[in-house]
């Protein structure tokens, strides 16, 4: 296991509860890795350990080649933390916030000014640099939050759910920034509980549940590894008779009623079929019409990370579990 970020068999306990249970993963330079999991999965604990804010109970952790917590001070020079909350001073301007965090990173003089200017340009806040942050929109504040974490061009960037409460446009801008950082060679670890975000942004996904890494790989790899297949959901004007899809090529699983899509709808008017490939969809639709059901709606659902998670844990990804308190 190699990379700018390395966690090996990391355990973190708060009392009797384990926030991390032998968690292992790595992030290489130039790579964006999504740390995906529901609330309480241990994402923030993992980021806190990597950010040198917490010491692991056991296991090996290294950031930018520095073993933690022994070499925490040296590791911090290469570390950029973007907290979940907007950790900037609202009364200060964007420039002043950046100057302050640049100084804490050891930058001074022209180097600091240059770094601040570059960060402002990177997050497209140069024209608003001298306004108090309190006047910024949520998206601008989030971009500044990101800029404060990367003003010193760190080798490792840790982002803890950086798009929470951000509109889609601003979210896209943040994704672009992360990609730019990775393109510059930074190892980016992006913590999120949004499956879509992980799928869209990350080169690789580490699925975390109850402190354990339950899967690690690209989305495709995870889906394939879970042997998940597409599903076809049909809604018909009249209920379909039983066994209506028997013998249709490509249908893998038995027909099952779909969950009610809207109030008042009956499950008998819907059906979900697990299929081998999308090539069998026309035949299935033809069979349904032939069975007397006038098709009102058709939806094809490809397997995603939520399916993988459900497959692995038996629970939905967005269950609102709580993490144990320290």
């Amino acid at each position: 296991m190699v990379g700018e970020i390395v966690c090996r068999d990391v355990v973190k306990r708060f009392g009797a509860r384990s926030a991390l249970d032998r968690a292992s993963f790595a992030v290489r330079a130039g790579e964006i890795v999504a740390l995906l999991g529901p609330n309480g999965a241990g994402k923030s604990t993992a980021l806190s350990i990597l950010a040198t804010l917490l010491a692991p109970t056991s296991g090996e952790v290294a950031v930018a080649g520095c073993a933690l917590p022994r070499e925490a001070r040296r590791a911090r020079r290469h570390l950029g933390l973007v907290p979940q909350q907007v950790a900037v001073y609202p009364a200060l301007s964007a420039r002043e916030n950046l100057e302050y965090f640049a100084a804490l990173q050891g930058l001074a003089g022209d180097g600091a000014r240059s770094a601040v200017g570059r960060a402002l340009a990177l997050v497209e806040l140069a024209d608003r640099a001298d306004e108090p942050v309190a006047r910024f929109s949520g998206g601008m504040a989030r971009r500044l939050n990101l800029a404060c974490g990367i003003v010193h061009r760190p080798l490792v960037v840790l982002l803890d759910e950086p798009t929470v409460g951000v509109d889609p446009q601003a979210r896209e801008r943040i994704y672009e920034l992360e990609r730019a950082l990775a393109a510059e060679g930074a190892a980016v670890l992006h913590s999120t509980h949004l499956m879509e975000e992980a799928e869209r942004l990350a080169d690789r996904v580490v699925l975390l549940d109850r402190g354990r890494v339950i899967a690690d790989g690209t989305t495709r790899e995870l889906v394939e590894r879970a042997r998940l297949r597409p599903r076809l959901v049909l809604r018909t004007a009249r209920p379909l008779p039983g066994g209506w899809a028997d013998g249709v090529p490509g249908v893998v699983a038995d027909v099952e009623p779909a969950p009610a899509a809207e109030p008042g709808a009956t499950s008998e008017r819907s059906a979900v079929l697990t299929i081998d490939s999308t090539a069998s969809v026309p035949a299935i639709l033809e069979r349904a019409r032939a069975a007397g059901g006038e098709i009102d709606d058709v939806a094809l659902h490809r397997p995603d990370l939520a399916d993988v998670f459900f497959h692995l844990t038996g629970r939905a990804l967005r269950d609102d579990d709580r993490e144990p308190a320290p």
């Binding site: 926030a19 923030s44 604990t45 806190s48 950010a51 040198t52 804010l53 917490l54 001070r73 040296r74 911090r76 020079r77 570390l79 933390l81 907290p83 979940q84 909350q85 907007v86 950790a87 900037v88 001073y89 009364a91 200060l92 002043e96 100057e99 302050y100 965090f101 100084a103 804490l104 990173q105 050891g106 001074a108 108090p132 404060c148 974490g149 993490e323 308190a325 320290p326």
Partner: protein
């Protein structure tokens, strides 16, 4: 790295503070407003403002119309504690009923006359007992007035008696001067008598001397005459006896020559000498005759006639010494008579005694002496300016330090800073340094405004105020850290901190003099930094003491601050651990 982080933190917190208009208002304007309101409201705690802007209204009903009313008006004209209003009794009662006044003073008819004639007199004080403090102050003023009027009456009586005594003394002095002149005349007459006696005695002595001289010359002349006569007689006797004397000398020579011849004859006879018959013996010369031979004729004459002196003396023995002066009968000077003029003291002692000094009974006075250096009349702002400045300083620290630290925690900037190579302590220290500096400036500004606007004292050494200021600012800053460590959230700071600060300020003597509190509460107050700060400010500003008086309280305040930091920093660090 540490210095850079510290500087960045200081700069950041300074900017945050400068943009916090509410905070600046709270630090600067709000304390001044409260100080003004509280100072004017509590002015009567020390009697009244020296500027006279908190004077009580005192209706005065002068039914007497005498000099007492004039005295009252004159004496209280410059008294800042009261504003006199001369009204009738109905108006005075109405003023009390309307609560314009807590007391009214009535001068009943005849009061001045009674005082003038030494008769009992009483004043009447109409009061609204609810206005206890006002009544106490007015009563005190009336007592002072009553005391002054009594003192003036005694002074007048004493002056009259002193004048009478001085008159008697002057009469006695005139009598003494007259006696002195009489005595001087007598002394002069006595002196003249003594001079006459002296001159008379001298004249008698001169006459006596002259008589003695006459007697001596007479005696000398008589002695000379007698001597001449006896000398002549002696010479005649001597001349007569000279042949006899010569004969006797010849006899003596013959006998001598005969003896020599006899000796020679015997020698010639040799051995037959013894056969020579003894020569016949010459007749013996009688001794009386023999004297003629040895003494000569003059001695024989002296023996027979006597020595010439003896002859002269004997010649004047008929005149006994002093006989001639007795014959002259010189008068004797009578003995001096003792002067009968009595001494001045004796004369004065016979005069009537001077009148004794009159000692009228005096009113019992109280000499009030400030042993602490505090002036007799205090400015209530000397208490209120430092008291409310300390209160608002601590509240400012609560908002600035406690909320500032919790904001850093809740904003996530603290965690972000902890993830940097800079020590997080630099962030905290930078914040505390800024707040400390701002606190010192805040206190200095408030004390300066108090001095300029309200006349609050800065003591003999204004710079010494920096000592307790630095102490309480340090303690307040550290207290802010402690509250930040104790409070779970921003919302918990105000209930927790404000209760503690209000309690410390009230019990510690920031809002009223601590001496108003019971003893046990004053003992409890020693556990609060506000108590020590106010002790130092009171010593410097009210008791006008030097910097040395503030050293111990300042050290105690520094100890408080250190204790708060020792407790607060670990608590804050513990609370600031990531909540994951």
């Amino acid at each position: 790295m540490i210095a850079r982080a510290l500087l960045a933190s200081v700069r950041k917190d300074w900017r945050l503070l400068a943009r916090d208009r509410i905070g600046l208002f709270f630090m600067a304007v709000a304390p001044i407003v409260v100080i003004a309101v509280a100072g004017l409201s509590l002015a009567s705690l020390y009697g009244a403002s020296p500027r006279g802007d908190t004077a009580y209204v005192l209706p005065v009903v002068d039914e007497d119309g005498g000099e007492l009313g004039a005295t009252l008006r004159r004496r209280l004209a410059d008294e800042p504690a009261v504003e006199l209003r001369f009204v009738d009794r109905q108006a005075a009662l109405a003023a009390i009923s309307r609560r314009e006044a807590g007391a009214a003073l009535v001068l009943p008819p005849g009061t001045s006359a009674a005082l003038r004639h030494g008769e009992p007199a009483r004043l009447l004080l109409l009061t609204d007992p609810v206005k206890y403090l006002e009544i106490a102050n007015v009563r005190n003023l009336v007592q002072e007035l009553r005391h002054a009027v009594g003192g003036e009456a005694l002074d007048r009586a004493r002056a009259r008696l002193e004048r009478a005594r001085a008159h008697a003394l002057r009469a006695r002095q005139r009598m003494e001067r007259l006696l002195a002149r009489v005595r001087a005349e007598l002394e002069r007459a006595a002196a003249e008598g003594r001079e006459g006696r002296r001159r008379l005695a001298a004249e008698i002595d001169a006459a006596s001397a002259r008589a003695a001289d006459v007697e001596r010359r007479l005696r000398d002349r008589m002695a000379a005459a007698a001597s001449e006569r006896s000398e002549a007689a002696r010479e005649r006797v001597a001349a007569e006896l000279e042949p006899l004397a010569q004969f006797l000398r010849d006899v003596a020579r013959y006998r001598s020559e005969f003896d020599a011849w006899l000796m020679a004859a015997r020698a010639a006879a040799g051995s037959f000498a013894d056969r020579l018959p003894a020569p016949p013996s010459p007749p013996a010369v009688p001794p009386a005759v023999a004297a003629f031979e040895s003494g000569g004729a003059e001695k024989l004459a002296d023996r027979l006639v006597g020595a010439p002196a003896a002859l002269g003396g004997d010649a004047v023995d008929w005149l006994p010494p002093g006989e001639l002066r007795g014959i002259l009968s010189l008068p004797k000077v009578p003995p001096a008579v003792a002067t009968a003029v009595p001494s001045a003291e004796k004369l004065a002692s016979r005069l009537p005694a001077p009148p004794p000094a009159v000692r009228l009974p005096r009113l019992l006075e109280i000499d009030e002496q400030s042993v602490t250096g505090a002036p007799a009349r205090l400015n209530t702002f000397d208490q209120n300016v430092p008291g409310f400045s300390v209160t608002f300083l601590l509240l400012g620290m609560l908002l600035g330090v406690s909320l500032g630290l919790i904001d850093e925690r809740e904003l996530g900037t603290l965690d972000r800073a902890r993830a940097t190579p800079s020590p997080v302590g630099a962030l905290v220290v930078g914040k505390l340094l800024v707040r400390f500096a701002v606190g010192v400036v805040q206190m200095a500004v408030l004390l300066a405004v108090g001095h300029v606007a309200f006349g609050a004292s800065l003591g003999p050494e204004p710079w010494a105020l920096l000592l307790p200021t630095a102490g309480i600012v340090f303690a307040g800053t550290a207290f802010g850290v402690l509250v930040a460590g104790l409070a779970r959230s921003r919302e918990a700071v105000l209930p927790l901190g404000s209760i503690a600060i209000v309690t410390m300020a009230a019990v510690g003597g920031c809002w009223w003099p601590i001496d108003l509190e019971p003893r046990w509460m004053r003992q409890v107050a020693l556990g609060f930094p506000t108590t020590w700060a106010m002790a130092a400010f009171n010593d410097l500003m009210i008791r006008r003491q030097g910097a040395a008086a503030a050293l111990r309280p300042t050290l105690v305040l520094l100890a408080f601050g250190t204790t708060f930091l020792v407790l607060g920093v670990p608590l804050f660090v513990r609370r600031s651990r990531p909540d994951v």
